[in-house]
C-alpha cells in the first residue's frame, strides 16, 4: 500500500497496455489487460484512498485478467471543493470507459473510495455500466468515520510516525495484525503514505454522500463488506444494500484491507458475479462460503 506510481500493475503473463487521458488539467492513467479471453464483460477496477492500481490491485488485476479483460484506473486527485471530489473522480472513470471500452457493458468494481466513485459513475451514467461491485464502500460519511478522519488529520499535524501506526491499526483486521511478527508490523506501518494527495483524498472522504445517486443505480450490484472493517464498517455496506435497488450483499472476514487480507476470495466473488450477475436475485444475502 505504498505508492501511487504508474509502474505497470502486473507481470507474469499479463500484457497490459498503459494509457492516459486528460480531463481539464488532470492526467488520468489507466491499464488495460487487452486480451478478451472469453465473452465475459470486461471488468473496470477503481482503487481506494491513497492507493493505485499497483498497490491495491497487484493481485486482483492479473488474476482476473487471466479469464477476462481488465481495465484499471489510477484516479487523479482533483483540486477544488472536497464535496465535488466523488463526482470529479467518477468523471475520470466514465472517460476511461468511453475511451477504452466504448459501447459495451462493463462490470465496474470499486474498492473503498473507489466504491464511492464507482457508484457515482454508475448512478450518473447508467448506460456505461452493466454490473457494479462495491467493496468496502459507504453511503454517506457518518460521525464514526468523521471522528476517525479527525484523528487522522490531527496526527498528520502532530506525529506522522504515530499516524502511520494508526493507519495500520485501522486498515487491517485485528486477527490479521495479531498474527504478524514485530518485523512484519513495522514493514506494514512504513508502507502507509501521509502525503498531500492522501490528505486531499481524506478530505474527499469526509464529504462523501451517495444518498441521491444510489437510487439511480439501475444495474445488478454486488456489495462486499469486511466483517472487521473499522474504516468503512460493514453497516455502511448494508446501507448501500438498502439503497441500491438491484443489490445483493456478502461479507468477507477481513478488515478494510480486504484486497490484501482476502484477495483470492475477492477474485472468486468478482469473477462469479461477472459471469452471472443474477446468480442471486436482488435483495439476496449470498450464502456463507464454508470452504
Amino acid at each position: 500500500m505504498s505508492t501511487a506510481s504508474t509502474v505497470p500493475a502486473t507481470a507474469g503473463d499479463v500484457k497490459e497496455n498503459h494509457g492516459s487521458l486528460h480531463i481539464g488539467d488532470l492526467e488520468v492513467n489507466f491499464f488495460d489487460s487487452v486480451d478478451e479471453h472469453s465473452g465475459l464483460p470486461p471488468i473496470v477496477l477503481v482503487h481506494g484512498t491513497g492507493g493505485s492500481t499497483r498497490s491495491h490491485f497487484g493481485f486482483l488485476f492479473p488474476m482476473l485478467a487471466a479469464k477476462q479483460r481488465v481495465v484499471a484506473v489510477d484516479l487523479a486527485t482533483p483540486q477544488g471543493p472536497p464535496d465535488e471530489g466523488q463526482i470529479r473522480m467518477a468523471e475520470q472513470v466514465q472517460a476511461v470507459i468511453e475511451k477504452v471500452l466504448p459501447d459495451r457493458p462493463v462490470t465496474l468494481a470499486g474498492y473503498s473510495l473507489g466504491a464511492v466513485v464507482a457508484a457515482t459513475a454508475a448512478g450518473t451514467r447508467p448506460d456505461l455500466v452493466g454490473g457494479l461491485i462495491l467493496m468496502a464502500g459507504w453511503l454517506k460519511t457518518d460521525a464514526q468515520q468523521k471522528l476517525r478522519n479527525d484523528v487522522w488529520r490531527a496526527l498528520r499535524q502532530s506525529d506522522v510516525e504515530a499516524l502511520r501506526r494508526y493507519q495500520a491499526f485501522c486498515a487491517f483486521s485485528a486477527p490479521l495484525l495479531a498474527m504478524l511478527s514485530d518485523g512484519e508490523i513495522e514493514a506494514l506501518v512504513s508502507s502507509f503514505r501521509t502525503d498531500d494527495v492522501m490528505a486531499a483524498q481524506m478530505e474527499i472522504n469526509r464529504h462523501v454522500d451517495l444518498t441521491d445517486v444510489a437510487p439511480k443505480i439501475a444495474c445488478p450490484t454486488l456489495i462486499v463488506a469486511g466483517t472487521d472493517d473499522l474504516m468503512t464498517p460493514f453497516r455502511q455496506s448494508k446501507r448501500l444494500f438498502g439503497a441500491i435497488a438491484d443489490a445483493r450483499y456478502t461479507e468477507v472476514t477481513s478488515g478494510h484491507a480486504m484486497v490484501v487480507e482476502r484477495p483470492a476470495e475477492l477474485v472468486h466473488l468478482i469473477a462469479a458475479f461477472n459471469a452471472n450477475p443474477n446468480q442471486y436475485p436482488a435483495g439476496a444475502i449470498l450464502p456463507a462460503r464454508r470452504p
Binding site: 507474469g12 497487484g58 488474476m63 487471466a66 476470495e265 470452504p291
Partner: protein
C-alpha cells in the same frame, strides 16, 4: 472366479472403490442422506488410504490440519497446526465409525477388475471377496497410493534392508545403522531428521534440490482446543483463513512477479538463515522456478543435513552392487539400509488397467495420451463411472480435501438426477471431455508447472501434459466442477433393475 458368499451389499446402487479421504467422504455424505445401497471396497484391512499406508517416522501432512479435514466434520482436537499422520488416520477411522460406514465397508476387497456390462448397463467389480454389482462405479482410488521404485540397476540385489517410505518396515532396527535415503521430496524431508538422530551414518541421495519454506508449525494449547470444542465457528474461521490464504498463493504458481519473488524469498532466506556453509548452500539451492515441484515445509531438514553423521550426496542413486550404493557423481557408499522415498505412480495409474468400459476398452488405453476427465470426474466410453481425486485435481497451493468435496457435490447431484430420471445412464462425449482437457492444458501452460523448468510428478512424461494438475485457484474448481449439468451428459440407456 471365486464364488460369492452371501452379502446384502453384493448388488447396490453405488460401488465405491477405496476407503481413503475420497471414498469415506462420499460414503459419509451418502449415509447422511439416508442412502443405504452402497458398498465401499477396500483392498487393505482398514480405512485411511495414504494415512494408513504411510507410517514412516515423522510422517505428517504439509497442509494445516484445520484445513486438511472435511468441512462437514471439523475437528477441535488436532494437537498441532500440522498434525502427525497417525492423528489424521485416527480422524478418518473415527469418521468412518461414527458416521456408520462400518456395515458398508468390505476389506481385503481389492478391485481386480471392473467391467461395464453392455446388456444391463451396470458395473461388475471382481474382488477376492467375490463380485459386486452396481449402477454407478466410483473410483476413489487416489493417485498417491501405488508406490514407485526408482529404476536403478542392481537395486533388487541390495544385500541390506530395503523398503519404500510408504511400506515402512518397523520390525527392522535402524539405530546405529548406515542408512541411505533416496529422494528429497515431501516424505524424505520428514524422514531425514528422524533417521539422522539414530543412524550411524546417513546418506541422502538428492537428484534435484527442493524449495523448503519455514513450517510455522505450532501446538494448539488446551485452552485453544477447548474453545474449538465450545465454539465450532472458531475452527471454521481458522479453516477459512487458511483456505483463502493458501488460495492466494496460486498467484505465484501463475508466475505473477511480485508473488513469485515473495515465495522464492521465503524459501531462499530460510536456506540462508539455516545453512551458512556456501558450498552446502549451493548444493541445496534449487535450479528451477519455485512451485514447479511441490514446495516443502520444514524447520528441521536443513539442520539435520548439517549433522556430522549426515552426508548430502547431490546426485541421484545410479546403481547398487551388493551393499554398495553408487551415486551418479561416482561416489560409493557402504549401506545397511536403503529407504526409497521416491513417491508414487501418478500419471499412469495401475487402477486404470483394471477398469473396462464400453467395448471392453481399458481406461488406461483411453488415457494413453494422458489421463483426463470432464470436470475431472467423468470420462467418455465409461458410463456411470465417476472419478474422485483423479486427473486434474492436484494442487501445489491448497488442500486436496476441498477438491474432493467439490467432486462429491457433483456426484451427489448426478445421483439425484439419476433418481429423478428412472436411473438413466450418465456418460460424457469425447468432444466434451476433450474440450475440458484442452482448457486445462491451456491453463497449465500459463503456470509454473509447465514453465518452471523442472520435471515433476504433476507431468505425464509420455506427452508433457500436466494431467495431474488443476491449473487454477482451488475455489475455481468448486465454481466450475462442483455443479452438475445434465446437459453435458448423454443419457439414453437405463440401468437394469437390481436383482
Amino acid at each position: 472366479m471365486p464364488t460369492s458368499t452371501p452379502d446384502a451389499l453384493r448388488d447396490v446402487s453405488v460401488i465405491i472403490v477405496g476407503a481413503g479421504f475420497s471414498g469415506l467422504g462420499l460414503g459419509i455424505q451418502l449415509r447422511r442422506r439416508g442412502e443405504t445401497s452402497f458398498v465401499i471396497l477396500e483392498r487393505a484391512d482398514d480405512v485411511g488410504g495414504s494415512w494408513r499406508d504411510n507410517t514412516y517416522p515423522g510422517v505428517a501432512c504439509d497442509v494445516p490440519s484445520p484445513l486438511y479435514s472435511y468441512s462437514f466434520r471439523t475437528n477441535p482436537d488436532w494437537s498441532r497446526m500440522f498434525s502427525p499422520g497417525q492423528e489424521i488416520w485416527d480422524y478418518l477411522r473415527a469418521a468412518a465409525r461414527e458416521e456408520g460406514l462400518g456395515p458398508h465397508l468390505r476389506f481385503g476387497a481389492e478391485m481386480l477388475e471392473a467391467r461395464w456390462n453392455e446388456n444391463d448397463h451396470r458395473w461388475t467389480v471382481r474382488t477376492p471377496q467375490g463380485e459386486f454389482y452396481g449402477d454407478v462405479l466410483v473410483a476413489a482410488t487416489g493417485h498417491l497410493t501405488d508406490i514407485k521404485l526408482p529404476e536403478v540397476p542392481g537395486l533388487e540385489t541390495f544385500t541390506g534392508e530395503l523398503f519404500h517410505s510408504a511400506r515402512w518396515n518397523h520390525d527392522f532396527p535402524l539405530a546405529g545403522k548406515r542408512i541411505g535415503v533416496v529422494g528429497t521430496g515431501a516424505s524424505a524431508i520428514q524422514i531425514v531428521p528422524q533417521l539422522a538422530e539414530i543412524a550411524d551414518q546417513l546418506v541422502v541421495f538428492q537428484r534435484s534440490a527442493p524449495y523448503i519454506q519455514p513450517r510455522r508449525d505450532r501446538v494448539f494449547s488446551e485452552a485453544e482446543k477447548n474453545l474449538f470444542r465450545r465454539d465450532q465457528r472458531t475452527v471454521e474461521e481458522m479453516r477459512e483463513m487458511l483456505f483463502w490464504y493458501n488460495d492466494s498463493r496460486f498467484a505465484a504458481r501463475r508466475l505473477i512477479d511480485d508473488y513469485l519473488a515473495e515465495a522464492s524469498w521465503q524459501a531462499l532466506s530460510h536456506l540462508d538463515k539455516q545453512v551458512s556453509d556456501p558450498e552446502l548452500r549451493a548444493k541445496l539451492t534449487p535450479d528451477y522456478t519455485i512451485g514447479c515441484k511441490r514446495i516443502l515445509l520444514s524447520d528441521d531438514y536443513y539442520p539435520a543435513i548439517q549433522r556430522p553423521n549426515v552426508h548430502l550426496e547431490a546426485a541421484a542413486l545410479e546403481r547398487v552392487e551388493g551393499s554398495t550404493a553408487f551415486s551418479a557423481a561416482g561416489e560409493a557408499f557402504e549401506l545397511d539400509v536403503l529407504v526409497v522415498a521416491t513417491g508414487f505412480e501418478t500419471y499412469d495409474l495401475p487402477s486404470s488397467y483394471r477398469i473396462f468400459g464400453r467395448g471392453g476398452n481399458a481406461l488406461a488405453d483411453h488415457w494413453s495420451n494422458g489421463m483426463q476427465a470432464y470436470k475431472s470426474i467423468a470420462t467418455a466410453g465409461f458410463p456411470n463411472l465417476f472419478l474422485l481425486n483423479g486427473p486434474g485435481t492436484s494442487l501445489g497451493h491448497n488442500s486436496v480435501i476441498y477438491m474432493i468435496e467439490a467432486q462429491i457435490d457433483h456426484l451427489l447431484a448426478a445421483l439425484d438426477w439419476r433418481s429423478a430420471h428412472d436411473g438413466r445412464v450418465l456418460e460424457v462425449s469425447s468432444e466434451i471431455e476433450n474440450a475440458f482437457a484442452k482448457r486445462l492444458d491451456e491453463g497449465a501452460a500459463e503456470t509454473v508447472i509447465i514453465r518452471g523448468g523442472c520435471s515433476s510428478w504433476y507431468l505425464d512424461p509420455r506427452n508433457g501434459r500436466a494431467t495431474l494438475s488443476w491449473p487454477d485457484f482451488a475455489h475455481r474448481f468448486r465454481d466450475e466442477c462442483a455443479p452438475f449439468d445434465p446437459a453435458a451428459y448423454d443419457h439414453g440407456e437405463q440401468s437394469a433393475a437390481r436383482a
